[in-house]
């Protein structure tokens, strides 16, 4: 087959795959994650059930793929914030606030716990950990952060402290959590 044909097929697959994830995300937002069925997803995505089964074996597999896309979008968004304007401390604060808000939304549920057992989450956490370490190291050089604890340990502290966000009731509470966490990073 000519290369162009392969690329067209590949582009079509990506498009349908994306439509399936979009449909699932919409259904999830409407009726909660557990209620969604393969038939509903196929209908919403505008494809037959047989086609849907060529892409994914069951709802759980779609949910994992959907979550993988969510996590990847979150990471890109956090990276953009982290590479923005301001001192390392200002940028880290913005990253942690955004991360805390993300953690607060629809987390702390049984299904979130299931999805978070996926390998993609461990990878994303490691990625975020490294990214935060870099910001911390930058801030140590500018004197914004303490230098008596290694950036790796500080990043670990931040990410564990922010797991508290999953059960917080409001945006204001997540901002306070970030403020307390940031205070732990300051030099004496």
């Amino acid at each position: 087959m000519p290369r162009l044909w392969n690329e067209t097929v590949e582009a079509h697959r990506r498009e349908v795959g994306g439509a399936i994830l979009d449909a699932t995300a919409e259904l999830v937002a409407e009726q909660g994650l557990r209620a969604v069925t393969m038939s509903q997803i196929a209908e919403k995505a505008g494809i037959g059930r047989a086609t849907l089964y060529k892409y994914f074996p069951d709802v759980e597999a779609i949910l994992f793929a959907w979550h993988e896309r969510q996590v990847s979008e979150h990471l890109q968004h956090l990276a953009k914030i982290g590479h923005g304007a301001g001192s390392p401390g200002q940028r880290l604060k913005a990253v942690l606030e955004e991360f805390a808000q993300i953690s607060q939304q629809r987390h702390g549920t049984e299904l979130a716990a299931l999805l978070h057992r996926g390998e993609h989450v461990a990878d994303a956490q490691q990625h975020l950990n490294h990214f935060i370490q870099h910001l911390l190291a930058e801030g140590v050089r500018t004197g914004e952060f303490r230098d008596d604890v290694a950036p790796g340990e500080l990043a670990n502290f931040c990410l564990h402290s922010l797991t508290a966000a999953a059960r917080l009731p409001s945006k204001a509470a997540t901002r306070r959590l970030v403020a307390v966490t940031m205070a732990g990073l300051r030099p004496d």
Copy 2:
């Protein structure tokens, strides 16, 4: 039956129950939690297998009872430290350091995750959370801790931040984690 007889039976039951948990704890320390069998436990506790089965249906049930006892001992130990000498800040630091050391020992494993799904752990966490809240409230009054965030939120922050201890490689690292956490609690 006379009351004395009931009490004697009850005391005997407690003694045998304690011996079973002691035997299990020793075997666990020697060969790891997963390798322990009912026969080994009965032999080590000096009772027959049939008797052992009158107390516990399987190894998992003993492990849960054993863990419940561990958790309860840890809580008592932490309460003793928290009620000791020193300012609220000094006592909280001592409590958090001890808690971080406990979390570091043999935690972060698959079996620890299983045992921690037990209700007794949620109860203990809530108990510890309240205890830490009280120390924080005391420290707010003495000016050692910040008063712009409620003690309940600060306690939540502490306990989540210290979950990082489970995977730390050394006592020194857990002490640094506590130092960073305590720094988050200081007034501006």
